[in-house]
């Protein structure tokens, strides 16, 4: 993947709100969210259940619409985009990783990864070449001809990450991707996500596990639909120079 590192965010959420229901049963799932995610950046969204983190992700990916506010993916406002435009954007720009992998059981790993490209009109042959290249680049080449039920959960999830980022897509939205995995395997999935972001992708990771959130560059804390706080990563090397503990 040769992504030029531009300062332009891949994903911009602007004053995003989402209200479910109305009147007495009105629930404010999101209250004025602002968030930019740049190429090369992995952002973790943490919060207790009901804090709005999954709603945030489904809206960022165009799977749900906000009550107000804007969602801009690669310069396109998906809240005003037409159906066709939105579908194309979802195929070409946005990759999803779900807790339960969502690979198609009847297709091999390589076929699963090439599917979004074929849907996008790329020839089957070219899609397969791209798919194998993506798997190879992510150290998953040996899994190319395996079916999902011949792979471990961790392997399936890594294939799902390859599928999310095949082609020119550089936004990956991951909803509790480690939820069904033991912690060692979960770690390998996060390491791959981290590596893809280091290579230029932009990632949003929703998790309630601090250990996995810690792989991110930035951790955003969500409470009752609002961002209440966030961390930034310091230069890790500064830790190695005679530091004892953060004073």
């Amino acid at each position: 993947m040769s992504t030029p590192l531009t300062p332009q965010p891949v994903l911009r959420l602007q004053n995003l709100t989402r209200v479910h229901g109305s009147g007495a049963t009105e629930v404010h799932a999101l209250r004025g969210i602002d968030l930019d995610v740049h190429p090369g950046e992995l952002v973790a969204v943490m919060g207790p259940s009901g804090s709005g983190k999954s709603t945030l992700l489904t809206i960022a990916g165009g799977l749900d619409v906000p009550t107000s506010g804007r969602v801009i993916v690669e310069d396109t406002d998906i809240t005003t985009a037409g159906r066709k435009e939105l579908a194309a954007l979802r195929r070409r720009s946005i990759g999803y990783v779900f807790q339960d992998y969502n690979l198609i059981p009847a297709l091999t790993a390589a076929e699963n990864v090439s599917l979004p490209r074929e849907l996008d009109g790329v020839s089957a042959r070219k899609a397969r070449v791209e798919s194998l290249a993506a798997l190879e680049e992510m150290g998953l080449g040996h899994l190319a001809d395996r079916f999902p039920d011949e792979m471990s959960g961790g392997q399936q999830q890594r294939v799902a990450i390859a599928r999310a980022l095949v082609g020119d897509r550089r936004l990956v939205l991951a909803d509790e991707p480690t939820g069904a995995l033991d912690s060692e395997t979960g770690e390998s999935v996060l390491a791959l996500l981290r590596a893809r972001c280091d290579a230029g992708a932009a990632g949003v990771l929703v998790t309630h596990e601090p250990r996995f959130a810690a792989w991110a560059d930035r951790v955003v804390f969500l409470r009752d639909g609002a961002i209440v706080d966030q961390t930034v990563r310091s230069e890790a090397d500064s830790l190695l120079t005679g530091r004892v503990a953060d004073a």
Binding site: A214, A216, D217, T231, R233, G242
Partner: protein, 231 residues
């Protein structure tokens, strides 16, 4: 943390001099607990006094060498065999701080928790970054493999520790929310269901806690004298 036993463990690999021990200790633990040379020599002096190490000549450059004795080896093996004592938990500043923050006037405990959570998660991010680097170094087959593995174990301990802290903070927050919810709802049925003794007029002197007091916001319902509640 036992510097004594750390030094004994390094000396078991052969005689060493003071600053060499310091360097090896730090490379094993990734400088997580930096030592100064003074500490090393003070500790060596005590170990020598206790018969666990002995001076062992000099190396070519004139450094005084120390060697582990048989008694030192026994001590070291006993240390490896015995679990680290947890009978008296180390004082933990965060536990003490939160314990003191419960009900402290002018302190919003949820802010105390969030400030700590941000700090703790950030520390985890830093440790995780270092861990990823250590793993990469190990996979590329560096020359100091033993030290890399040791450093990785120390880092992972720090990650587990910060993770436990972050989880505990989440737990404290939800625990406190549950308690404050039940505290807020508990007094109401009590006043509504129990008529109590003839409710007299609210004492005119009760202005100091009016706004946040138990009687506030209840449409001016009369409160019996002495029925003042704390939250």
């Amino acid at each position: 943390m036992s510097i004594r036993h750390g030094l004994l463990a390094l000396l078991e690999h052969g005689p060493r001099y003071g600053s060499q021990l310091r360097t090896e200790f730090e490379s094993r633990t990734g400088s997580t607990w930096p030592l100064n040379v003074g500490q090393v020599y003070t500790t060596l002096g005590r170990l020598e006094r206790d018969g666990l190490v002995a001076q062992n000549g000099e190396d070519g450059a004139g450094h005084a060498l120390y060697a582990i004795t048989d008694a030192g080896r026994d001590e070291l093996h006993t240390w490896f065999e015995k679990p680290v004592d947890r009978a008296s938990p180390a004082r933990d500043e965060l536990s003490i701080k939160l314990a003191m923050a419960v009900g402290a006037p002018g302190v919003d405990i949820s802010e105390v928790i969030q400030a700590q959570r941000r700090h703790t998660v950030k520390a985890m991010q830093d440790y995780t970054r270092l861990k990823a680097q250590a793993l990469t170094a190990l996979e590329s087959g560096g020359t100091h493999e033993r030290d890399d593995v040791a450093w990785l174990l120390v880092l992972e301990q720090l990650i587990f520790q910060t993770e436990a802290e972050a989880r505990w903070l989440d737990h404290c927050e939800s625990r406190l929310i549950r308690f404050s919810a039940s505290a807020a709802s508990a007094p109401r049925p009590a006043t509504a269901s129990e008529p109590g003794p003839d409710p007299g007029p609210r004492p005119a002197t009760g202005s100091e806690d009016g706004a946040g007091g138990a009687g506030a916001g209840r449409g001016g319902a009369p409160v019996a004298p002495g029925a003042r509640r704390t939250r």
